[in-house]
């Protein structure tokens, strides 16, 4: 068969189809017009027009995180690409597979300060897992396939492919994905068996073990979550997870301790502090989790499973390092545990659980229940009740509401919880919800939001309306950048510098202006009715304004620079000695 010549733009479309892409999130512009023209002339790829390029990446993240597929973004050169940067870094921090195609000025103009020119590969180099500038149309197909390979294999991440306009017009040869093999990038997927054996040995001899799992389990696919559940049940050990790992182990199981870290539960953090064997599966000892490093789980042996060797011994030195994919490692652990007929030390484990139950009895998520004002925790508890048994996906923005959502909403399956963990990007939730809703049109998708975060990407309501994505924007409106205010209260003498949300719109009218449904709850009695109405809307977006207690703070909290056993439970804990001076500088 003679080699078929296609234009660069046609090669892009064909490569995307061959990679199994069905949706692209993008925004057109001068430097990507040939690709938009090629998109116009086909019907297999659906394009979702966002209102800002940052949102295109977040939407693709929501799509990717909720499906396990690679999210695809298409933006123009210059401002199109620079607007996408925040989204790209967000995806890098949270290991979300994204391929972002950006237009570029024609090759002969590169470096000439041309109109809408930006050094996109230069700017995105530290914000991506990898990036490419394609100068030869005959290398285009290969590069695109490589981009998908790099984005989804190993520790997933965003990959940018920068496409000069002349390359999009030029004729070139297409090669299919199976002919492309990457020269260098071959992440280790299968772990070393000897390490697994070492790990199993440690686990079997543990007196006070704890599983500490992370987003790596979710990234390793639904099978990894099943295997994790199996291993945890088999061993009888307690399990906690990072923000990114929620859902990998069912929250309804008795072995679940809740999230750990700065706003994690008392029982999770104390289990970490007091454990003798820690089994880290796909988490990265992030500072939000470890607190004061020198007092992090003192006296424990640590096992760390991670596909990224650079995550191992980065912040915390571990005793058994297992490089590999979580699913493979878990499978091996189960197999060897069974083969060696291992059984945990039941007497010790019973004692350990007794201790944990005492910590649990502290009921650390309790809050001051009242009829006079809607507590944000109450609103989430009611939402949790109404979501029971339903097919739902939750996204969040960033701040207090995000932490409350992580504490109060239970996840029994992976890929149901989408939040900006590493970068902490306000404005993530709405576009991510749209991406998740596009992927799951019949499911309920709720963006747990704050009034300040919502304003950061609220233009995306337009996108949701256009594509009839009935996302629910559940605003816990406390008229403050709540987490900023909380820190100012704790660390800066309650001087609420610029953290008040002045000049807020009427969110109900805002919804109506877009042809959406707007709802508001101002009293405790109204909350249930509003949630019911919100969930009943299936054909358009809903903005829900829950007017919550403006003074409520998020607890428990381990202040920056403190150890896991130095937890503040509520406002009664004195903020004066909350944070040592060296902790003040920590974010």
């Amino acid at each position: 068969m003679p080699e078929q010549k296609l234009t660069g733009a046609q090669i892009v479309i064909k490569a995307l189809k061959d990679q199994g892409v069905d949706v692209i999130f993008g925004y057109p512009g001068g430097a990507v017009l040939p690709i938009y023209d090629a998109l116009f002339q086909q019907n297999d790829l659906r394009h979702v027009l966002v209102r800002h390029e940052q949102a295109a990446v977040h939407a693709a993240e929501g799509y990717a995180r909720s499906t396990g597929k690679v999210g695809v973004v298409l933006v123009t050169s210059g401002p199109g690409a620079t607007n996408a940067v925040t989204g790209l870094l967000d995806a890098l921090c949270d290991s979300i597979p994204i391929v972002c195609l950006s237009g570029q000025v024609p090759t002969h103009l590169i470096g000439n300060d041309a109109f809408q020119e930006a050094d996109t590969t230069g700017i995105t180099r530290p914000c991506t897992k990898h990036n490419y500038l394609v100068k030869d149309v005959n290398k285009l197909a290969r590069t695109l396939h490589e981009a998908f390979y790099v984005a989804r294999n190993g520790r997933p991440g965003p990959v940018v492919v920068d496409l000069p306009k002349d390359v999009q017009f030029a004729d070139g040869i297409y090669v299919p994905p199976m002919e492309v093999k990457h020269k260098t990038y071959r992440p280790q997927v299968k772990p070393e068996l000897a390490k697994i054996e070492e790990a199993v040995e440690l686990m079997a001899n543990a007196k006070r073990p704890v599983f500490y799992t992370g987003g790596g389990v979710v990234n390793a696919g639904p099978m990894a979550a099943k295997l994790l559940t199996q291993l945890v049940k088999m061993t009888g050990f307690p399990i906690t997870s990072t923000l990114m790992g929620l859902g990998a182990f069912p929250a309804s199981e008795p072995q679940w301790l809740g999230m750990l870290g700065m706003h994690g539960t008392y029982e999770a953090n104390l289990s970490m502090y007091n454990c003798d064997v820690m089994i880290n599966i796909g988490a990265r000892f992030d500072d939000r989790v470890t607190g004061k490093l020198s007092e992090f789980a003192p006296g424990s042996k640590k096992i760390h499973v991670d596909i990224d060797p650079s995550s191992i011994n980065k912040n915390v030195a571990v005793d058994v390092a297992v490089v590999g994919d979580c699913a493979h490692a878990l499978e091996d652990m189960i197999r060897i545990w069974k083969a060696k007929q291992k059984r945990a030390d039941q007497a010790a484990l019973k004692q350990w659980w007794g201790q944990i139950e005492q910590w649990r009895a502290r009921n650390c998520l309790n809050y001051n229940r009242t009829e006079t004002v809607i507590k944000p925790q109450y609103a989430l508890e009611r939402l949790r009740e109404h979501l029971k048994g339903k097919d739902f996906y939750i996204t969040t923005e960033v701040g207090q509401h995000q932490m409350w959502a992580a504490q109060f909403l239970p996840f029994d399956q992976p890929n149901r919880w989408m939040t900006s963990g590493g970068l902490g990007t306000m404005g993530y939730g709405l576009p991510a919800a749209i991406g998740a809703q596009i992927a799951h049109p019949d499911a309920i998708v709720v963006d747990i939001s704050g009034e300040a975060s919502f304003l950061m990407n609220m233009q995306e309501i337009g996108t949701a309306v256009q594509y009839r994505a009935p996302v629910k924007i559940f605003i816990l409106n406390n008229k403050y950048m709540g987490m900023v205010r909380q820190w100012q209260e704790l660390l800066h003498g309650s001087r609420y510098s610029e953290s008040y949300s002045e000049a807020l719109p009427d969110f109900v009218k805002l919804a109506e202006a877009w042809g959406c449904v707007g709802l508001r709850a101002e009293t405790v009695a109204e909350v249930d009715g509003v949630i019911e109405k919100m969930l009943a809307v299936r054909d358009k977006p809903v903005i829900v304004d829950i007017c919550v207690d403006p003074k409520e703070n998020c607890f428990p909290m381990i202040p920056g620079g403190k150890a896991h056993n130095e937890i503040l439970f509520g406002p009664e804990d004195s903020p004066a000695d909350a944070t040592p001076e060296d902790g003040m500088v920590l974010v």
């Binding site: 590969t121 230069g122 180099r125 530290p126 897992k129 990898h130 990036n131 500038l133 790099v150 020269k183 260098t184 990038y185 990224d308 060797p309 650079s310 191992i312 011994n313 980065k314 030195a317």
Partner: protein, 168 residues
């Protein structure tokens, strides 16, 4: 806590493609690692491979982190810690310009002879010496020339290779 600072020479085999050096340097600046010297040149024209030799320093944990981070870059083929992997040869090449007349000029030439430096340019009032040696030798030579009319220095930074028959 072990906080001893170690100096390591690391060789990195990379695809010779645009931006690869920027990736390596960006990694060091972005993560706050030290680069004491860095050299790069293509070593395999047909395979489009370049070899980067870099000298860095840090605690053991940092050095291990540097190697893991380098290895994670997509265009990186291999990372070798020559300091860790047994004896290696380290060499630097320097060009050293010295201007002067009379005794100082004669002394510079005599010292160059001792250090086995070549004269690669000569005028009536100046020399350019070419010197190959370890970093310490080059430092010593330049230190001496500083007292004899040193005008400028250009150094390659360290090149290194493991001893023995096995290759990269």
């Amino acid at each position: 806590m072990e906080e001893k600072i170690e100096k390591h020479t690391i060789a990195v085999l990379v695809d010779n493609e645009p931006g690869v050096l920027a990736r390596v340097i960006g990694l060091f600046s972005g993560r706050g690692y030290n680069i004491e010297s860095l050299t790069v040149a293509e070593v395999d024209n047909a395979g489009h491979l370049s070899r980067i030799t870099l000298v860095t320093s840090g605690t053991r944990m940092i050095v291990e982190q540097i190697k893991a981070q380098l290895d994670r870059l997509v265009p990186v083929h291999k990372v070798h810690d020559l300091t860790d992997e047994g004896p290696c040869v380290e060499r630097e090449l320097a060009l050293v310009k010295v201007a002067g007349t009379g005794d100082r000029r004669i002394e510079a030439l005599r010292l160059a002879d001792i250090f086995k430096a070549q004269v690669v340019d000569a005028t009536l009032t100046s020399f350019v010496f070419e010197l190959t040696g370890t970093t310490v030798q080059v430092d010593e030579f330049i230190g001496l020339m500083a007292q004899l009319g040193l005008v400028e220095t250009s150094r390659t930074g360290v090149l290194a290779m493991s001893k023995g028959p096995t290759g990269f």
